[in-house]
């Protein structure tokens, strides 16, 4: 048991299957220094994994891009109604003076 702990001196190089599992944390800066070095060593020599990383990076950045929302007009109208009722609540007489 003690021997097994001592043997962990040099981390084994990554293969592609392992590298892809580290990339999300890598992009978030959440990887340990050791794993970061292992991954960067692998990326330096593996074009396919660099492509995968770039795809992941692009996917993440496009997730946050603004797009047409899927709020349907009827749903928006309902919510605006909530707003109008709320606004009308305390001082309904002044806003709807003919009612």
């Amino acid at each position: 048991m003690g021997g097994a702990a001592i043997v962990k001196l040099r981390p084994s190089p990554l293969v592609c299957r392992q590298a892809v599992e580290l990339m999300s944390d890598y992009l978030d800066g959440a990887l340990s220094g050791r794993d970061t070095r292992r991954l960067e060593k692998h990326l330096a020599v593996c074009e396919s994994c660099r492509t995968y990383l770039e795809q992941l990076r692009l996917t993440i950045s496009l997730s946050g891009s603004a797009g047409p929302d899927d709020l349907e007009p009827a749903a928006l109208a309902e919510l605006v109604d909530v707003f109008r009722k709320f606004r009308g609540g305390p001082d309904a007489s002044s806003e709807n003076d003919h009612a």
Binding site: R17, E21, S48, Q55, S63, L71, L76
Partner: protein, 198 residues
């Protein structure tokens, strides 16, 4: 227009500001509510209750967090209560399964079917418009826990710790779910993108 400006206008009773905020956050709010409640219509109800709570509480909002974080915390609180009433159970899977199909690698674990770049011109707005639409479409097809985490983290830009705190998960579990969710979206985009004109 930024949130702070809209919130200031909303405090003055500006309906347009309310519409803008509602439109800006609706999809994310519904997605996160769906993590807790049983149906789309329950989620819509929770979102409606959330906006009413925002209107009631806005005057006392002290800007200790961003408006966005405050909004999501109100939503999560309400959605969680509704989920409890509906006896909804959420199952989270933290198993160690691979996120890329085993068939893509050879016996040594090296790509035998490597990924092809989505586009040669990543800065091209013409290409990224449809690609962004496809990314949004693929996010909408994820299981609810994945949608909630990816929406808070990558769509809305909250930190991992903020997401963990909102959803009452550990940072490590958020990272595992996020990793899975991002990988699934990438795979789904990869599968569909090739057939589209670029």
């Amino acid at each position: 227009m930024d949130d702070l400006t809209l919130v200031t206008r909303l405090l003055d009773g500006d309906e347009v500001a309310f519409r803008d905020l509602v439109t800006r956050y609706h999809r994310s709010l519904v997605r996160i509510a769906r993590y807790y409640v049983v149906s789309e219509s329950s989620a819509e109800d929770v979102v409606q209750e959330t906006w009413l709570a925002v209107l009631r509480g806005l005057a006392n909002f002290e800007h200790r967090s961003s408006f966005k974080t405050w909004l999501f915390s109100i939503l999560v609180h309400r959605a969680r209560s509704s989920g409890v009433r509906e006896r909804r159970t959420v199952t989270l899977d933290f198993s160690n399964e691979s996120t890329v199909a085993e068939s893509r690698f050879d016996q040594r674990g090296v790509w035998c079917e490597p990924p092809v770049p989505f586009t040669d011109a990543v800065d091209s707005r013409l290409t990224n418009g449809p690609l962004a639409a496809l990314v949004r479409e693929c996010i909408a097809e994820l299981p609810e826990p994945h949608q909630a985490v990816i929406t808070l983290r990558d769509v809305e830009g909250l930190s991992t710790t903020e997401v963990a705190s909102l959803l009452e998960l550990s940072d490590a579990n958020v990272r595992v779910i996020l990793h899975r969710a991002r990988a699934r979206v990438r795979t789904a985009v990869e599968a569909r993108w090739e057939v589209q004109p670029s």
